[in-house]
Subunit: 190 residues, 2 copies
DNA sequence: ATCAATATGATACGCGTGTCTCAAAAATTT
DNA sequence: AAATTTTTGAGACACGCGTATCATATTGAT
């Protein structure tokens, strides 16, 4: 049933719990038992999609290469599950709106910061060269080019294809890393 | 009534058409006459919010300064209407999902590329120095750091405040511009 | 003041999501 | 095999969005 949902989502659609139920050949009630809401459904598929990304480990000692490697292995996967990640983003926006409405903002955040950990890990080699604040800022800037949002902007707004999207994201990422490193060097030098 | 919707959205909530009706003191039916769907409602408020941004014109001749100026004037406005832009993004995601489901992908795109025009305009001074492809790539990279998506990533995921968000976006933008210019110079030199 | 045209309001309807109840089926225990 | 526990399915329900209908104000013209 999770498989059915994953398959459907990879096919591009964002099925409702009822649709998954029908596709999986179970009753609606049963489907709602396993996935009490569409959020739970998407959440499960996102975890499935994130699998290979979260186990990514760098092989290089150079931060630039590590970032490039991370992007190269992650972005295609994100694109493969584009519908899933977009559904997750949509849900996080709904949660945000709900949190604004009811002032009881104590629900758990949907969007967990996997980006944060991955990028910090990729930038680990820079720890000596850059200050913690500089590494953080770089990681924050990189996280802008690393996620579904990147796909949305480059593919949907600019109309780029998958290859160009990847290329632009890679270029931006490497440019940011280079800029941060150069900046640190010149400030240390001067 | 549009004013009511704008006011509500600036207060952070994403009201339904019914809620706007009640808040504006008109009947539900009347509200649906003016805004046939929530999409129309959000669309109208987005246009309201975009007003000052779209009339932005650069005063400087330096591309870096122009981009900085654009970010400085636009990002706070986007943040001021954060709920509105997030609602718009949510709607665009829904439309995308709908387009994937029904294969009749001929509906008009919700997310219009205002970013594209603004950034191209800001980068106009580089036309001589960079090739068209280089300018485009830079604009595409910059557009990743210029929009609601930036707010989502930096505020919601990283937990930054408004000031830090602005600072990171600005830094990333200027770093990208510098990188593109240096790259062009060195390739012309070499 | 009267009449036509338009805007508004109240109400009911279809549709999809999510919740609930209860009976039937399947698996487990003894 | 019989009894008990667990899982599943069918249907009914509440709720919110969007639509349609029809009567009632409200406006403007004669």
């Amino acid at each position: 049933m999770l498989e059915t949902a994953t398959r459907l989502m990879q096919a591009g659609v964002t099925p409702s719990v009822s649709e998954v139920a029908e596709a999986a050949g179970v009753s609606r009630a049963t489907a709602y038992r396993y996935f009490p809401s569409e959020a739970a459904l998407v959440h499960a598929v996102v975890d499935e999609a994130l699998g290979p990304i979260l186990t990514w480990r760098s092989t290089s000692a150079d931060a630039g290469e590590r970032v490039a490697d991370l992007f190269e292995s992650s972005l295609p996967r994100i694109e493969e599950f584009e519908a899933t990640f977009k559904a997750a983003l949509k849900l996080s926006l709904e949660e945000w709106a709900g949190r604004q409405a009811g002032t009881l903002g104590n629900e758990p955040q949907f969007t967990r910061g996997h980006r944060v950990d991955l990028l910090r890990q990729a930038l680990a080699p820079l720890k000596g060269e850059l200050s913690k604040g500089q590494v953080d800022r770089l990681a924050q800037a990189l996280s802008l080019t690393f996620g579904v949002e990147t796909l949305i902007v480059l593919k949907d707004i600019w109309g780029l294809d998958a290859g160009r999207t990847q290329a632009v994201a890679q270029w931006a990422a490497s440019a940011l890393v280079r800029a941060a490193v150069e900046e640190a060097r010149s400030s240390k030098k001067g």
